[in-house]
Point group: C2
Chain length 134, copies 2
Amino acid sequence: MVVLRDCFLGVRRFDDFEKRLGITRHVLADRLKKLVEHGVLYKTPYQQKPVRQEYRLTEKGLELHPVVLALVHWGDKHMADERGAPIVHVHKQCGKIMQPLTTCSCCGEPVTARDIRVEPGAQWQDRSAELLPR
Amino acid sequence: MVVLRDCFLGVRRFDDFEKRLGITRHVLADRLKKLVEHGVLYKTPYQQKPVRQEYRLTEKGLELHPVVLALVHWGDKHMADERGAPIVHVHKQCGKIMQPLTTCSCCGEPVTARDIRVEPGAQWQDRSAELLPR
DNA sequence: GCTCCTAAGTTCTTTTGTGGAACTCGCTAA
DNA sequence: TTAGCGAGTTCCACAAAAGAACTTAGGAGC
C-alpha cells in the first residue's frame, strides 16, 4: 500500500521509493517485482547507457486509486495531528480541495456501511455458506 | 484487511474468523488486539458464564468501509474468474446491485486518478519537499 | 589513471514474525 | 466421567525482514 501511495504521488524510481519509504532495498525490490508480476506496475527504461528503469502504474494499477484515496482520507481524519492532513487533493475540474465520497453506481446517492446488504454472486449460490457467515 | 473484510460481512467471533481466514490463531489474536488498540474494533461480551467476547467495528472502523468496498470491487474486476464476483453489494435504499463510485465532495462528479492534483496541506508548507516528490 | 558518485539491484548475517500443533481455562451437555 | 466449545496461549521450526556491505555499468572531477 505505501508503494502504491507513492506511485500515485508520482514516485517512479527505485532509490526515490527507498528514500521515502521506511523499507529496506531488499523488501522494496521484492514488492516492486510482485506488483509488476501482477500487472499493477510496469517497468520501462528512462535512459540507456547504463539502462535505468522506472516503475509506472498500469491501467489496472490506476484503478486502485479509489482504494488509496479512501485510505489516505481515513488516515487524514483519524490519524492526523493538530497540523491536519499533510497533503490535500485538488479536483482539477472544479478546482477545489475535495474529499472522496463513495456513492451508489445506480442511484448516485452517498453510501455508508449501513446502507449495504451483501448477497452471493449469481454463479456462486451453491457456495454461499463458505462465502457468507451465519 | 482480510479481518476487516470479514467484519463488514458480519463475522464477530474468534473461531469464525479463524475458520474463514487462512491465518493462524496466534496471528489472528495479535491482529485483533492491534485493531482494538487502535480503536478500529471493540470487544464486548455476548454471554457470561463463561465470558465470551465478540469483536465489532467502532464508528472509526465503520468508516473504513469505503476502503474495503473499493478494494473488493477492484478484486472482483481484476482477479475474478469466469464465475464473476463471489458476492455482490445491494444498496438498501434503491434495491439494486451497486458498484462503488468515488466522487468529488464539492461538485459530485466521478473522480479518477487523472482528475486529481496533490498539494501540501496548509500547515505543512515548509515540509512539502519531504511529502511530495521532485 | 584514479577516485568518487549514481541507480538499481544482490548478498550476507542477525533479528523478528509466522505456521502448525498442542495445551489451558471456564464452563455445558451426554 | 468423559467430551466438547470458545477464546485464547505456549512451543518449536521455518520464513521473512532489517541493516549493512557488495556489485555492475557507467559518468564527473582532478
